[in-house]
């Protein structure tokens, strides 16, 4: 058998296809590239679903075990800020979807506006999160050596929360379990916030690129795929809000 076959040696030198500059050489067409990268992003989001899945599993078990502690712990979260943040993220999902539409319809001005608004909403969310976390710090509700169960063994000592919910005092061991609630609160909102920060960083990068016209010449996959990521982060928050803030407010 010879060491060359019809395929590799006698073919003409590599035929150069005409393709747009943003098409990578291993793809046969821009459609294939767009389709492929889109599917890849969905798969990546699947990994994120399973990643957060572990946290949700831990949360559900602990909530079942220590329900009273979780109820009273959740009363320490501000329904006002939580709802506001939810609205902010939903609005940011809307502006992100509009960004994709702007890129698809090649409207550079609209694209910049929508990406900019998404960024503003993103920062707003992180700012509100910062306010909430700071409040937790001040009230000694950060798990660890500085944690105080005072608000749970003696709810009357926390007048703001008490007048809303009139919680019963918890037994000392159940009161200690509010640390589990806050551990999960910070772990879950922290992991979510980390994903927001990464998203905000990529948004800033995209705004710079969009100013140069990168996404309004027909190559929209980056914006589309980032949009998927951003919406996913929104979905995670929708569940976090329902599980962490709305355990029982009656």
């Amino acid at each position: 058998m010879s060491d060359s076959t019809a395929i590799s040696n006698s073919a003409a030198p590599e035929v150069h296809h005409e393709h747009p500059p943003y098409q990578r050489h291993h793809f046969e067409s821009v459609e294939q590239q767009a389709d492929t990268t889109n599917f890849a992003m969905w798969l990546f989001l699947l990994t994120e679903v399973m990643f957060f899945g572990g946290l949700f599993t831990a949360y559900l078990i602990m909530r079942n075990w220590y329900y009273p502690a979780f109820v009273e712990g959740s009363h320490q979260l501000s329904i006002f800020w939580g709802t506001a943040n939810t609205a902010v993220l939903i609005a940011s999902s809307f502006t992100m979807a509009m960004s994709v539409w702007s890129a698809e319809t090649r409207r550079k001005g609209a694209l910049l506006l929508c990406l900019g608004l998404t960024l503003v909403f993103g920062f707003t969310f992180l700012g509100i999160k910062g306010i909430e976390w700071h409040e937790k710090w001040e009230k000694h509700h950060i798990p660890g050596p500085s944690f105080s169960v005072q608000s749970f063994v003696n709810p009357a000592s926390d007048p703001e929360v008490y007048k809303e919910y009139h919680d019963q005092p918890l037994a000392p061991d159940m009161a200690q379990k509010t640390q589990e609630y806050f551990f999960l609160y910070f772990a879950m909102t922290g992991m979510h916030a980390l994903h927001m920060v990464i998203g905000v960083g990529i948004l800033i990068f995209m705004i710079f690129r969009a100013r140069g016209g990168a996404y309004t010449t027909g190559h929209v996959t980056f914006v589309e795929n980032f949009g998927l990521y951003w919406h996913f982060v929104d979905i995670i928050w929708i569940y976090l809000f329902a599980l962490l803030y709305l355990i029982s407010r009656h």
């Binding site: 889109n38 679903v49 572990g54 559900l60 939810t86 539409w101 569940y239 355990i247 407010r249």
Partner: protein
């Protein structure tokens, strides 16, 4: 390659801003609804002795899931995407439920005693 031709139509389907506005409003309404529902005691369902279902968390999760589905279908264009995309989403949800469901089944069934 013909598989990809069919996908072309889907890929280039541009969802109109009108739909986005409707979904935005639906999501905001859902948020208001779920907050309101958490202030009301929705009661429970006593399925069997020792097995009670409380409606509040069920309603909260149902509203959250509806909101999530709207985001997935419309903001993320899943409704206009290929069957492969829909299958991918479905398998993620499925496995997530397996993780949570089978783990929690262990915890719940411990209370049933040793045979």
């Amino acid at each position: 390659m013909s598989e990809q031709n069919q996908q072309h139509e889907h890929e280039h389907h541009i969802v109109s801003p009108g739909i986005y506005v409707v979904i935005l409003l639906a999501l905001l309404v859902g948020t208001a609804a779920t907050v309101a529902a958490s202030y009301i005691d929705l009661g429970e369902w006593h399925i069997a002795p020792g097995l009670t279902l409380f409606w509040n968390p069920v309603v909260a999760l149902a509203i959250a899931t509806t909101k999530a589905m709207l985001v997935v279908l419309f903001f993320m264009h899943a409704k206009y995407s290929t069957r492969l995309t829909k299958l991918t989403v479905a398998s993620g949800v499925f496995l997530f439920l397996v993780l949570i469901g089978m783990t929690m089944a262990d915890y719940f069934s411990r209370a049933w005693g040793r045979w």
